[in-house]
């Protein structure tokens, strides 16, 4: 398995500001992903974090709004930029191992006022 540390676990932010979420995994993994989960909803993939290169974004998500970095195999950050109340959600880091298993962090619960 993989142990994923994600921080902050929760935050309350003002409209128009930006927040960076960090994700650290305890082992080298093939893939790192960022998901968003609205209350009571399923998991929506934001992007695949690629080591040393630009992330691959899913439809509806853009780099200017959700810039992602992955400087090495075990660490990634997601920034939520110019936040609005619609960005209030849980943001989840996940990693996929060489065995195919996918694990999630505990999530970062973001509230935008």
């Amino acid at each position: 398995s993989a142990v994923i540390s994600q921080k902050p676990s929760r935050d309350i932010c003002q409209r128009g500001t930006s927040l960076t979420i960090q994700c650290q995994v305890d082992s080298q993994v093939t893939m790192m992903f960022w998901y968003r989960q609205q209350p009571g909803q399923s998991l929506t993939l934001i992007a695949t974090a690629n080591q040393g290169s630009e992330a691959t974004y899913e439809s509806g998500f853009v780099i200017d709004k959700f810039p992602i970095s992955r400087p090495n195999l075990t660490f990634s950050t997601l920034t939520v930029s110019n936040m609005s109340p619609e960005d209030s959600s849980i943001y989840l880091c996940s990693v996929r191992l060489y065995t195919g298993e996918l694990f999630f962090g505990e999530g970062s619960r973001l509230t935008v006022l």
Partner: protein, 113 residues
């Protein structure tokens, strides 16, 4: 082509009952089918997964049944307990460790005492 359809949306069973959650997929290239369990305020946890070389897999009280020809798989929880009350997500992907997972919309399970 990429959808995973999950049902029911919610489910209530009495303690000791056997809740069954069903999922259907469309992409015949999928060969990895995990289930996740999510408690409120927590990230989804990998519960059990199956690959299509077997029709059934058991881990403790949790069983996955897989029907390749029907492109369906299901989760059974034997002797369900109130502590099993959670949201369950099915998913599907290719097993190569480099693919993204497609998630179902989730089933909220309540096991009454």
């Amino acid at each position: 082509q990429q959808q995973v359809k999950q049902s029911p949306q919610s489910l209530i069973v009495q303690k000791g009952g056997i809740p069954i959650i069903n999922c259907a997929y469309e992409n015949t290239a999928f060969d990895y089918f995990p289930w996740y369990q999510q408690f409120p305020g927590k990230g989804p946890a990998l519960l059990i997964a199956i690959r299509p070389d077997v029709s059934e897999k058991k881990e403790g009280r949790f069983t996955i049944s897989f029907n390749k020809s029907a492109k369906q798989f299901s989760l059974h929880i034997m002797d369900s307990q109130p502590g099993d009350s959670a949201t369950y997500f099915c998913a599907a992907s290719m097993s190569n460790g480099y693919s993204t997972l497609t998630f179902g919309k989730g089933t909220m399970l309540l096991v009454s005492p």
